[in-house]
């Protein structure tokens, strides 16, 4: 099962390596991992997408909690949540393909954020599967470069991860 886990941790040097080290040492999967400071600069928030059996996920949550720098852990998959990922795609967009590429970006609610006479750079936000769908929808041969942030997640409604 795929799980998306949010971690609130002390914004200290090395905190990320403790989490990454934990996952590699114990053989847990990491599909993606994102981290940045929160509105409170002393705290970082990390979103980890992982897969594993219920037992493994339970261990992951416990092991994360055991890290001294970790303040709070929430398995977002336990309830309703929203997740988003950002992708930047640079595509070849010259000649007759140019109009088609613009249209595809519009359909997926992407924005063209950089333009040359031969390329577009498109910014796209959504769930991971939407980003995958966009990449499948366009001709693989025109993709010059992609970069994705990995998923960030937040609970729906009143569900809040805060100290």
């Amino acid at each position: 099962m795929r799980h998306i886990i949010s971690v609130l941790m002390e914004n200290e040097a090395g905190a990320l390596s403790r989490v990454a080290g934990l996952f590699s040492a114990r053989g847990y999967n990491i599909e993606s991992l994102t981290v940045a400071p929160t509105e409170d600069a002393t705290l970082s928030r990390m979103t980890i997408v992982t897969t594993g059996s219920e037992e493994v996920i339970e261990q992951i949550v416990k092991q994360l909690n055991k890290l001294i720098d970790v303040v709070k852990v929430l398995d977002l998959s336990d309830g309703h949540h929203i997740e988003r990922e950002l992708m930047l795609v640079k595509v070849r967009a010259g000649g007759k393909d140019r109009e088609e590429m613009k249209r595809m970006a519009d359909i997926f609610r992407g924005r063209i954020i950089d333009v040359t006479d031969k390329t577009y750079t498109i910014e796209l936000t959504g769930t991971g599967s939407k980003l995958d769908a966009f990449l499948e929808a366009i001709d693989a041969a025109v993709i010059l470069e992609t970069v994705r942030t990995g998923a960030s997640g937040i609970g729906r409604g009143e569900r809040v991860l805060k100290i």
Partner: protein
């Protein structure tokens, strides 16, 4: 008044009431050593290798329950210390290890004696710190002691760059420290405790399975009271020995790979298993699928939530300090009238006695060659069962665990989790310093003792009257045993063809050496050695080369699938 970082380190250690710092100087810690030279609050024990420093601090911590302290320099000082740190980590021993680091400006530039200490030690510490600002030094050391000693204990590394030791700051040692990210749960959940008590009082075939958590959590008293109140059988893991008296009728011995027949069968066939500070280690339950074949309810008390349902699914988890939880259980049992079904309990004990009648630890006491088990039994007799016994790792460790029946906690000091050869001698040093008047024996093998033999020199310097009980079979015995059973007697590299003359070696270090070759000399020599109260005596017992540790559960098998001595 402003103090230098080095002065702050020394003052912090004094404030913590540290008695001994085990260490080895070097460039990055010279400022700290200079301050140690000027103070008299604690003693510094100069070891002969950094690994010995950490093991000795670890042994001190195991024997006292206090935080052990080690101090090493940067680079190789740290890498030498890593085995000691990992050993302490696996057995949850509270340590603060202070490491020197190259100056902050040189970090990352491949400076002389630089290693990424925080990176190297990260997977084997409870936590670690790199202190880049002298203003953070005192509070960081306070945090280190706090983290090391509370919750599930463990080693904490504080890495201090050399420039930080000569920068200055106002010194104020905080009386306490709180951390929003670290608040171990101590009090067990009352609903869970209630649920557990219903199971316990309704049990027909109960078993108390107790581990290192009982010793570390100082829970031996409530454990004893609970076991006696309910007349339940008790088994203790390698790390838990002494938590319950080894000579008591209710004690079944150790479970697991080299556990007793009665302990393993009771583990398998009980209907309610109360696990107390034990973690269902692979050496204890063998094949988890085989263990799960029998239906039983499992209650697990542990201070570390991640130890619960890690290898074995638990029915009633109780996160909390084992002592607090056991005391609460006792209070509730005493307040109520309900008691376990006595008839069922009697039938269970009858069954256990039948298993016990197998006498699975019997061996040939008439052997004309010294049997290692015999040496341990005689050691028990000669020391009245009251010695502090350290061991190394291998066959001798198992014989020590099986035949020295520990009646008190913190008397049995060994590396259970990591299984580190070479711990025995430095452990014994830490124990003897903690308890200068106690009898301290180090049961070891000729393989293990040579891994930290240099510490004999430290023992001389500090006049530590240890008794080293070398069970010398000229083989790496446990390796040889596995090769005999599972590799068709191909003894690959397990024979040590050229051993030193241990008597001369002991004498060279300024100690007394003895070689004992006949069973009839064992007891007399032990008495003679222990009578030398102010001397280290190195006793080289020439033992049966082919003796094996029984019972044995082969790796990957179920715990009832034991090989017993008579089956070979």
């Amino acid at each position: 008044m402003e103090l230098t970082g080095a002065e702050i380190v020394v003052r912090c250690l004094a404030e913590e009431g540290v008695e001994y710092v085990f260490g080895y100087p070097g460039g990055a810690v010279l400022n700290i050593y200079d301050e140690i030279f000027k103070q008299d609050k604690f003693k510094h024990v100069l070891v002969r290798h950094e690994q010995g420093a950490v093991h000795a601090a670890d042994g001190y911590a195991r024997a006292t329950g206090r935080v052990g302290v080690a101090l090493v320099t940067s680079g190789p000082g740290v890498t030498n210390a890593v085995t000691g740190i990992a050993t302490a980590y696996m057995d949850s021993i509270p340590l603060v290890v202070i490491t020197g680091q190259v100056p902050t400006a040189a970090i990352g530039l491949d400076a002389f004696q630089e290693v990424d200490t925080v990176g190297i030690t990260r997977p084997c510490v409870k936590h670690n710190f790199l202190v880049k600002d002298v203003n953070e030094l005192a509070v960081t050391i306070k945090k280190a002691f706090h983290i090391a000693a509370t919750g599930r204990p463990g080693p904490v590394v504080v890495d201090i760059p050399k420039d930080v030791t000569h920068h200055t700051a106002e010194f104020a040692y905080p009386a306490s420290v709180t951390m929003r990210s670290y608040n171990p749960v101590l009090k067990g959940h009352s609903g869970q405790i209630k649920k557990a008590l219903q199971m316990i009082l309704g049990a027909h075939r109960p078993l108390l399975y107790t581990g290192g958590g009982v010793v570390l959590g100082d829970a031996a008293e409530p454990l004893r009271e609970l076991a006696r109140l309910l007349n339940f059988p008790v088994t203790s893991t390698l790390m838990g020995l002494g938590g319950y008296p080894g000579t008591d009728r209710q004690f079944l011995g150790m479970p697991g790979m080299h556990g007793t027949y009665e302990a393993n069968l009771s583990m398998q066939h009980c209907d309610v298993l109360l696990a107390i500070g034990a973690r269902f280690d692979d050496r204890v339950i063998g094949d988890p699928a085989h263990f799960a074949r029998e239906q039983r309810k499992i209650i697990h008390i542990d201070v570390d939530p991640s130890s619960i349902s890690k290898r074995v699914k638990v029915d009633v988890p109780i996160v909390g300090d084992v002592k607090a939880v056991l005391e609460e259980m006792l209070r509730q049992i005493k307040a109520g009238r309900e008691r376990p079904d006595q008839e069922a309990l009697t039938a269970w004990w009858t069954q256990i006695e039948l298993w016990r009648a197998k006498d699975c630890l019997r061996y040939n006491r008439q052997s004309p060659i010294i049997k290692p088990q015999y040496v341990v039994e005689k050691l028990w007799e000669v020391t009245g069962g009251e010695a502090y016994v350290t061991s190394d790792v291998g066959q001798h460790q198992m014989w020590a665990a099986q035949y020295y029946r520990f009646n008190e906690p913190r008397r049995w000091i060994n590396s259970g989790g990591l299984g580190t050869m070479g711990v025995g001698l430095p452990y014994a040093m830490g124990v003897q310093l903690a308890h200068p008047d106690a009898q301290v024996a180090c049961i070891t093998g000729e393989g293990s003792i040579q891994m930290n033999i240099q510490e004999l020199s430290t023992c001389k310097e500090f006049n530590l009257p240890l008794k080293i009980i070398l069970l010398n079979n000229r083989y790496l015995g446990m390796v040889r045993q596995w090769q005999e059973f599972f590799y068709k007697e191909r003894y690959a590299e397990s024979y040590m063809g050229s051993l030193p003359d241990f008597v001369k070696l002991a004498e060279a270090y300024g100690h007394v050496g003895m070689t004992i070759e006949r069973p009839e000399d064992v007891e007399r020599s032990l008495r003679e050695a222990f009578a030398m109260k102010d001397r280290l005596v190195f006793m080289n017992f020439i033992t049966d080369q082919e003796e094996n540790v029984f019972p044995m559960v082969p790796g990957g098998k179920g715990i009832t699938e034991m090989i017993l001595a008579e089956e070979l």
